[in-house]
């Protein structure tokens, strides 16, 4: 074992120690992980090694255009294994046993390769020619890389500038930088899940999230793995377990030519994430960190004490009972308690990232550690992540390369508990707090929490509920792979990869007896685990061949297999003598709750193949096919086949193009067609599964077993057929480049729960019926607006428009209504001819007047209506308003989305900002709908202050009655178009001259702000809200779960 290896092992052990470091010690010790990181890297300088010496060969390599030195050029002595890299001055030095004459082979990304014959030992000056940018660039594609010039598919990269934006999770970085990718967060709670759609949603019921390929490891983002069921409230995003600052690049594969190689999992697009790796020749230590302060960017308007008391009196009036409060009592309540403000805080967020990377002729490595700690703006919520990574690659010999990527992280989320104050309220402690009556004091005079609330049954206090309830999710994730690349022959490479994703969740929940969650049960504790394991083995053969530098072939063939298993268990107990053991010892609970456990396994076996052919890098064609066999599908349809073809033409390479090549530097036309699939159904969906149930005989629990679903051996893939036409054009030496795509996608054989006549004993059967189409255009514009020596302004504009339409839901079904939140009428409908996420309800037209009633305007049936009630609009020809008068109130699908990102640098300063927006999308403001329902027990929306009374006949809201039925009406379908300044950062790089004296390569300080402003008409917390994130049929419902956040931060980047 040599010095190198010993240090690598030392680093790895330290890293593991660092990761196992737990948050237990509390907030005071936040500095400790940073210290640990420091200690961890003290051994680094020893890493550089020396070689034995014979003769010395030196030289310098420069850019032929401007004679700038080129650093990192690979200088290889032909016919040997000797190679070095140039340093920052462009200089290289061999100490070698080789004798002249010899030949240098020079290669450098973005430049033409060159061979230079050397006949003496003098210092050699060599210049390299710049390749036409954009043509030689290599892009990441499925199972390999490809010259950008030869690409036939639609592949977009997330702009580098956006990758450095501070974010909890990398999905937050996908928005605004790539056209056709939409990201909506389910809530602003730290670590919350989000919904990611590439070119709209294809599936109605199952799986619309893209496929993630992280350093070659394929994984669906299954947020179910972070939720055992023991904790309550919204789930934790599985993506948040990945450290975003490790990411070097993100590529989005959008069309079939690009995604079909992922076959049955490519239909929703593919996100290829590549993490940073070491570069040859340079050992570098990087530290970056930031500290920020977050606050709620908006508060909802609620009734104050006096307003609430007056509302109660009006309800009494409509009930025909005496007023509850005298006028003087109403005045004395004043503003009352501001529960909303009491539950909020200014919350810190910090991130520290330390990495060491480097390499020599044979090995490249990167070791990084990350500590991220974000407190939520709501009390007692936060998200902490510790992570470590080792990326290592070594050329064992000329034809064998091995490597590994190992990532380990631990994430802890303290989430808002999910208790609901009434049966129709959102299951969120925050909603409970918002609905708590303002005349109830928050604290007693002695400073303790007031638990006397005569308006609810349980003597609790929502702030105390939030602070005392433990609702914790711990996720340990290990994502690792090993790979081997073996050059069997010249041009023929075998790649074998073995990888594993170990996803372990432990959830802890404890609601003490003094909280609403534990009051009824005498203290309620629950623990749950999920252990999800995914194994992946991939074996590919790639053959690269060119004939006379005219015909370029790349042929890929492979076999892969992936198996997945998840096991979960939940145990709970109630009636605890005290809170001392919290969730840690269920045996102290007097009453056990029936435990549960579960397990699922699935397998996917695949054959894949791809042929890329290019003639002179002008005419390109890519043909791919993948065959997938999935265990989760019916026994008659295990295998599916997913072909694609893509062609492209680099028109600008033609001779006839030469005259205008000064203006149009590049023009490429692309077209592709292909099929991809989706089989994201849970295991055992096609089987006649039986379920356990309970009954009691003589007070004793007995188990019953009976079918829950019918077998469907014909269950098969959803198939998406996609056509794409694209244009890549750049002007003025690539100063401006434009990418335009138009696409059409049709998804057939949808996996739908086909409704069955209920008299069969089954509500539905999972079958392949129906179809959905998505069509749209995408424009991406990149411009170096200013490109001078000191002043650079780079701008990126993206625009996307997608139209979604349901074409069929199967024979005889025109629509279905997704299940509404408990006790509510569903605001959404899934209907043929309309887009998914369509809101369905009544139009209204102000309030009924006595005149209207006298005239006999149509009234809502089933509810007695009087003057001051809402005036519902009957459709043409209807004399009364019934549920048949519900109609399309708009959809949550935007007309278009856009992003505008800029990086501007002037001398040492840099400024970047990202504006992002969406137009034409609607949100159903369900929290407002509930909050505008007057009751005697809950607080209500501030808008109810302006209600109809005899004295205020022009009020906005109807007269107060006791708990009317909340109807789905146009009022709550709000325009949620918005324009948001997502990020603004101003940085300063300390001058290189100063830094070089202290051997520092880079020192940058910056200040930033996130969500500085949002322009929108939407009245809820956040126009990007999406409560039912995973459910494609219930997009765009805002159930008011967590306030939106604005952040200010300062940070530093340091490189040694």
């Amino acid at each position: 074992m040599n010095q190198h290896q010993r240090y690598n092992i030392y680093l790895l052990t330290s890293l593991t120690a660092f990761i196992s470091f737990r948050k237990r010690s509390g907030k005071k010790n936040q500095i400790l992980p940073v210290l640990l990181l420091g200690i961890l890297f003290t051994g680094i300088p020893f890493l550089l090694s020396a070689q034995t010496k014979e003769v010395v060969l030196t030289g310098r390599i420069t850019d032929s255009k401007n004679n700038d030195p080129l650093a990192g050029v690979v200088v290889h002595i032909k016919g040997t294994t000797h190679q070095v890299l140039t340093d920052e001055k462009g200089d290289f030095k061999f100490i070698t046993g080789q004798q002249v004459p010899l030949v240098y082979e020079l290669s450098y990304v973005g430049f033409k390769s060159k061979e230079v014959s050397i006949t003496n030992y003098d210092f050699t000056q060599i210049s390299l020619d710049n390749n036409n940018k954009g043509l030689s660039e290599v892009v990441v594609v499925g199972y390999g890389t490809q010259r950008r010039s030869d690409v036939t598919g639609s592949i977009a990269s997330v702009p580098k500038g956006l990758l450095s934006i501070p974010a909890t999770s990398f999905d937050n970085l996908l928005q605004g930088g790539v056209s056709g990718v939409s990201v909506t967060q389910s809530s602003a709670q730290p670590g919350a899940t989000s919904t990611i759609r590439i070119r709209g949603g294809n599936s109605i019921t199952f799986g619309n999230d893209p496929l993630y390929v992280i350093d070659g490891f394929i994984s669906y983002n299954n947020n179910a793995f972070s939720n055992s069921g023991a904790a309550t409230g919204s789930k934790v995003s599985a993506l948040a377990t990945i450290n975003p600052s490790d990411i070097e690049s993100i590529e989005i594969l959008k069309d079939a030519s690009a995604t079909a190689i992922y076959g049955s999992r490519g239909a929703n697009g593919v996100v290829i994430v590549t993490t940073r790796r070491g570069k040859k020749g340079v050992d570098e230590i990087n530290y970056s960190g930031y500290y920020g302060s977050q606050s709620a960017s908006k508060k909802l308007s609620l009734l104050n004490g006096s307003q609430w008391a007056s509302l109660v009196n009006d309800i009494n009036l409509s009930d025909g009972v005496a007023k509850t409060y005298s006028d003087s009592a109403i005045n004395s309540f004043g503003k009352g308690s501001d529960w909303q403000s009491a539950g909020l805080r200014t919350a810190p967020v910090q991130n520290h990232e330390l990495s060491v990377s480097g390499g020599d002729e044979k090995s490249r490595y990167l070791i990084s550690g990350n500590y991220y700690n974000q407190d939520g703006v709501v009390l007692n919520t936060n998200f902490i992540r510790y992570s470590g990574r080792l990326n290592y690659e070594r050329n064992v010999s000329d034809n064998l390369k091995i490597g590994t990527n190992i990532y380990v992280s631990k994430s802890v989320q303290n989430g808002l508990a999910g208790a609901a104050i009434t049966s129709i309220s959102p299951a969120s402690a925050w909603a409970t707090l918002l609905q708590t009556v303002p005349i109830v004091p928050i604290k007693n005079p002695d400073g303790s929490y007031n638990t006397v609330n005569p308006y609810i049954t349980t003597p609790t206090n929502p702030i105390q509920d939030i602070t005392n309830t433990t609702n914790e999710t711990n996720i340990t994730r290990t994502l690792g792979n090993l790979y081997l690349e073996y050059k069997i022959l010249n041009g023929l490479t075998l790649k074998v990869t073995g990888g594993v994703d170990l996803f372990n969740t432990k959830q802890n929940y404890y609601a003490p007896i003094n909280t609403s969650g534990g009051y009824a049960s005498g203290g309620f504790a629950s623990v749950g685990t999920v252990a999800a394991t995914s194994w992946l083995n991939e074996n590919t053969l790639t053959y690269d061949h060119s004939i006379q530098e005219k015909h370029f072939f790349t042929i890929l063939a492979g076999y892969t297999t992936q198996s997945q298993n998840d096991e979960s268990a939940v145990a709970s107990a109630q009636k605890f003598p005290n809170d001392l053991t919290s969730y840690n010892n269920l045996a102290y609970g007097a009453t056990a709750v029936l435990p549960s456990s579960n397990s699922h396994s699935s397998t996917l076996n695949s054959f894949l193949g791809r042929i890329s052919y290019s003639y002179l890098h002008k005419y390109n064609i890519t043909i791919s096919e993948r065959a997938d066999g999935a265990s989760v599908l019916g026994s008659n349809n295990k295998w599916g086949y997913f072909p694609s073809v893509g062609v492209s033409w680099n028109a600008s390479q033609e001779d006839f193009f030469k005259p205008i090549s000064e203006t149009v530097s590049n023009l490429k036309i692309r077209a592709s067609a292909g099929q991809t699939g989706n089989s994201n159904v849970p295991p055992y969906s096609s089987l006649a599964a039986l379920t356990p149930t309970n009954y009691y005989f003589n007070n004793t629990l007995v188990t019953g077993i009976a079918p829950v679903q019918l077998a469907n051996p014909d269950l098969k893939w959803e198939t998406t057929t996609q056509y794409d036409a694209g244009l890549d054009v750049s002007f003025f030496k690539s100063r401006i480049s434009l990418i335009f795509d138009a696409y059409y996608k049709k998804t057939t054989d949808l996996l739908l729960n086909v409704p069955f006549p209920l008299y069969t004993g089954y509500a539905s059967v999972l079958e392949n019926v129906g179809s959905v189409e998505n069509k749209g255009i995408e424009i991406s514009l990149n411009a170096d607006v200013i490109r001078s020596k000191d002043f650079i302004w780079h701008a990126n504009i993206v625009f996307a428009k997608n139209e979604n339409k349901i074409l069929s839901l199967g024979k005889g079904t025109q629509n279905f209504t997704p299940t509404a939140p408990t006790g509510q009428q569903s605001p959404v409908i899934v209907q043929v001819g309309l887009p998914l996420g369509t809101f369905w309800g009544y139009s209204t037209n102000g309030l009924l007047t006595a005149d209207d009633i006298a005239k006999g305007v149509p009234l809502l049936t089933g509810v007695p209506q009087k003057a001051g009630d809402r005036r519902y609009v009957a459709l043409n020809g209807h004399t009364s308003v019934t549920s048949s008068d519900k109609h399309n109130l708009g959809s949550s699908q935007p007309k278009f989305t856009y992003g505008f990102s800029n990086t501007i640098s002037y001398k040492g300063f840099d400024l970047s900002f990202l504006l992002q927006g969406s137009y034409g999308n609607k949100l159903f403001n369900q929290f407002e709908q509930i909050a505008e329902k007057p009751t005697l027990a809950l607080n209500a929306a501030g808008t109810l202050a302006n209600r109809w009374t005899v004295a205020n006949p022009n009020g906005l809201n109807p007269r107060a009655t006791n708990s009317p039925v909340p109807q789905v009406i146009d009022r709550y379908v709000e325009d949620a178009s918005y324009l948001r300044l997502k990020n603004l950062t101003l940085g300063y790089n300390l001058p290189k001259e100063w830094l070089s004296k202290i051997h520092v390569k880079l020192f940058r300080v910056y200040v930033g702000a996130q969500n500085l402003f949002t322009i929108t008409h939407y009245t809820g917390y956040d126009p990007e809200a999406n409560y039912f994130d995973g459910d494609n049929t219930k997009q765009g419902i805002d159930f008011g779960v967590y306030p939106a956040v604005r952040t200010y931060l300062v940070g530093v980047n340091l490189a040694l």
Partner: protein, 496 residues
């Protein structure tokens, strides 16, 4: 080094090929039992029948249970006894209470679904248990008994359906295909549905007379006779009904009235001498999908909020004589809050509130969703009242035995004997009035009104301002519209 490379490469390939050979696409579920593996042993048979009982106190999707909420909405909220409270904002519930429901009413659909869900489980149990070799049962009688228990529940559910909806599809087997068109069938005539009910119940009369130990709560032969009597009464087949009632009296079942009416709805006295068949509830640790929802008749000490349902108006509690002990068991107007030692008095236009299913052993009182109060489906008081009714019909006037039957029920409630010498019609009215007072919230009233004719239902409902929308078409519920859409062979009831 170089010579080792091929070994490295080879071993990688070897490991890969292990992966390849291991990964079969056939599913061997580890956490799920599949139909083909089950229905082999006697304990499988027992579990299959337990699952049939389960449909009575739960919902497959976690909704409210059939006996415990959903059936109550159709038979009590839609009757003259009961209304929705202002706290109940479910539009479907409000529509049932105000008799303004339409054929897409979600609660009507839910009842339809829950009944057929239970019927399907019974069908599966009956067919699959019959296919198990008799040798699999240690006790040969067990096989028949389990089948007959399932038949009893199937009959009970079809009896509800045929009274709620009229002719309904008579389904007796689990579907064998997922092709909807092969499953569509028209409605089966009422007489044929009753034919199946009667045949199932006749089989079920062979069930054990009583159970002991861990079997208490299963359907008994007495329950089958009682239900059969009720079926015959509904069909006005008085003589057949009388035979069934006689076999209950003479069959040695040992049924009697509780001395105290309160004991019908107590946890301590569940499955007692008066209970012939009850849907079982137990105060549990939160088992999935089991919620006694009627117990939430009390859910708050806050006088500003209301229970889910309320009586139609104060005239309902005024039906009871001052001496009637049933009144205090049926309604409450105050609750004792043990936490602060105060008694909260509820006084508003919606009081008194219903009380029968409130579980007073639970503390704190807001935890009523885990109430352990059974729902009595058949009890001896009903046998007596059916007997009074049948004798009055058969003999053209009340006999002494008829008087004795009704007076036993009245005496237990501390109400004086019924006026002697009533004519047939007056006596009939007295029996229905007695049934009304005896069975509030017990899923009887709407059936009793319809049994007397559609006009009686309409007249009874129109007494209340909230129920003015009642018409003759309301004597049958509409077939849920979505069912007709999925099966064009189904026809709608008249007037819908």
């Amino acid at each position: 080094m170089n010579k080792h490379i091929k070994y490295i490469v080879l071993s990688f390939i070897l490991i890969s090929s292990t992966f390849i050979s291991c990964n079969k696409l056939v599913e061997n579920p580890d956490s799920v039992i599949v139909s083909s593996q089950f229905y082999q042993t006697s304990s499988d048979a027992v579990a299959a029948v337990n699952a049939v009982y389960n449909t009575l106190n739960s919902d497959p999707l976690g909704d409210f249970p059939m006996y415990g909420r959903q059936l109550n909405l159709l038979t009590d909220n839609a009757s003259d006894n009961q209304n929705f409270s202002p706290s109940n904002t479910n539009p479907d519930v409000r529509a049932l209470s105000t008799v303004t429901y339409v054929s897409i009413n979600g609660r009507i659909l839910k009842n339809w679904q829950q009944h057929y869900f239970g019927i399907n489980r019974a069908n599966i149990a009956i067919d699959n248990i019959a296919a198990i070799p008799a040798t699999a049962f240690p006790n040969p009688a067990q096989q028949t008994q389990l089948i007959n228990e399932a038949k009893f529940i199937r009959a009970l559910l079809y009896f509800n359906l045929v009274r709620l909806f009229g002719a309904v599809p008579l389904i007796l087997h689990n579907p064998t295909s997922v092709d909807v068109s092969s499953l569509q069938i028209p409605r089966t005539p009422v007489d044929s549905v009753y034919g199946q009910i009667i045949s199932d119940l006749k089989d079920a009369t062979g069930l054990p007379a009583t159970y002991t130990g861990a079997n208490i709560g299963r359907a008994s032969g007495g329950a089958a006779h009682t239900l059969l009597a009720k079926v015959y009464v509904t069909r006005k087949q008085w003589a057949l009904a009388q035979t069934e009632l006689q076999s209950i009296f003479s069959g040695g079942y040992g049924y009697a009235l509780f001395a105290n009416f309160k004991d019908v709805f107590q946890k301590a006295t569940k499955n007692g001498i008066e209970h012939i068949f009850s849907v079982q509830y137990a105060t549990n640790g939160g088992e999935a999908n089991t919620t006694q929802y009627l117990s939430q008749s009390f859910n708050s000490f806050n006088t500003g909020t209301y229970p889910i349902d309320i009586p139609s108006d104060s005239s309902i509690s005024a039906l009871f004589d001052t001496t009637d002990t049933r009144k205090a068991v049926t309604f409450y107007t105050s609750q004792f809050n043990a936490l602060n030692g105060q008694t909260i008095i509820y006084h508003n236009p919606y009081t008194p509130y219903f009380n029968k299913f409130v579980d007073y052993t639970l503390s704190p009182l807001n935890n009523q969703t885990i109430s352990g109060i059974n729902f009595p489906v058949l009890r001896y008081a009903e046998v007596l009242l059916l007997n009074a009714e049948v004798l009055n019909e058969i003999n053209g006037a009340p006999t002494a035995e008829a008087y004795s039957a009704i007076n036993q029920v009245r005496a237990r409630a501390h109400v004086s004997d019924l006026t002697p010498g009533l004519g047939q019609s007056d006596f009939r009215d007295s029996v229905f009035l007695e049934r009304r007072k005896e069975f509030i919230q017990e899923g009887q009233r709407w059936f009793d009104l319809v049994r007397q004719g559609g006009q009686v239902l309409v007249d009874a409902l129109k007494v209340f301002p909230a129920k003015q929308a009642a018409t003759l078409k309301d004597s049958l519920y509409p077939i849920p519209l979505t069912e007709i859409q999925l099966d064009p062979l189904l026809t709608q009831n008249p007037g819908w």
